[in-house]
Symmetry: C2
Subunit: 210 residues, 2 copies
DNA sequence: GAAGTACAGTAACTTTAGTTACATAGAACG
DNA sequence: CGTTCTATGTAACTAAAGTTACTGTACTTC
């Protein structure tokens, strides 16, 4: 575990803090599709990502979903942070996008480390900064873009996160993430295929040139 | 100035910090419509709201606008915070919604106070928490709601912020905030009037029962 | 290999929102 | 009082997205 911590956080945290993380953090490995946080849950610990990726989803009253953004290695969930500090319920759902390795930090340490370590404070602020900017990009996407552009961005981002130019999803799954319907997604994907940007198959999509 | 600081922040900050704010903060009074932050600007100080309200806007590449949320007294702009910490450009525009009184804190103090005062840290984290939740509500609104529901929410929120059940805006101005077109807004407002929820006039809208 | 199931393709239609164009009405101002 | 400007009303149309319904096809399972 020590190695993973040092590899991912060695350059941003001082030795003393790294040792505390190693001593207190709980190593956790979850498979793709594992639900880490559910809407309405209270959160007792904060995840530091070591490898893999996590997707963060929003849901409305009718159960309609929307993908907000992904978390990657070296990052943490600022939503979790806010929930921990305010002792409030989670506003989002977190699902492992890949097999993912995490270090869980009990929330009791948060306050202490924030007072004690400048690098921890910077990490937390930086994390907020990134997350707010991701949320703004999500707003841009749904407010200013048409569905065809949103699909292109979705495929690009998914490919980047998975380090794979084949997207292993059904049209229905994409429709859920983009909060649209399967028929609409199939239609627009077909158009992208006709334009030579992608190649459609059963259960996967090959990116040609987006 | 001391009175304003104590009235608004006396219960959340300790005396020592309040004195620092009084000594260092720059009192600023801006009229309705005053532009406080422009997209792409670097930010040198952080605003604490004493009275009034500020609206936070997002803009896309084509210059299309969207209202994100309002800031009220006792709050601060977490976007400004993130920009200060990361020394990055502003992602948003901030315009005074009302005549507004602010205390500007030079960013140099941020780091120092975050290390020194627990109440300051809590204030900053709480501010992030509120802002992220406001952004999520904005996402909900544009992702899950139709324009008629969005208009209703808009009118309600505007009325609450302005403490006035008459909305002093033209249809065009509402269209800009909601990133729609004037004709669409006029059409839907007319429908709301027919339902007896509002009464339309030239340059203002009277809320009857939303 | 037959039956069942999940996925994708497509047509036809509806709904919502955006666009264009023009009419009217109130305010402002000489 | 007539001219001008701005705000609003409305019709007619287009575009985008969502819905319904049915098809074919590939994979699964027995």
């Amino acid at each position: 575990m020590l190695k993973e911590i040092y590899d991912n956080y060695g350059t941003i945290f001082e030795k003393e803090l790294l040792d505390e993380i190693a001593a207190i953090g709980i190593f956790k490995e979850v498979p793709e599709g594992f639900k880490l946080i559910e809407i309405g849950e209270y959160i007792k610990s904060m995840p530091l990502l070591v490898s893999g990726a996590i997707k963060i989803l929003r849901e409305d009253a009718d159960g309609d979903e929307l993908l907000l953004y992904y978390l990657e290695k070296g990052e943490t969930c600022s939503m979790t942070l806010t929930c921990c500090m305010a002792n409030s319920k989670s506003e989002i759902r977190a699902i492992a996008e890949l097999n993912t390795v995490l270090i869980m930090i009990p929330i009791q340490k948060m306050e202490e480390w924030t007072a004690k370590y400048k690098t921890w404070r910077n990490f937390v602020f930086d994390s907020y900064h990134k997350r707010v900017n991701e949320l703004l990009l999500t707003v841009d996407s749904i407010a200013f873009q048409n569905m065809d552009e949103r699909i292109i961005n979705y495929l690009k981002e998914k490919s980047r996160i998975n380090k794979d130019d084949t997207i292993h999803n059904t049209h229905q799954e994409i429709a859920y993430d983009l909060h649209s319907s399967r028929v609409v997604i199939s239609r627009l994907l077909k158009k992208l295929e006709e334009m030579g940007k992608i190649k459609l198959h059963r259960n996967f999509i090959k990116i040609i040139d987006l």
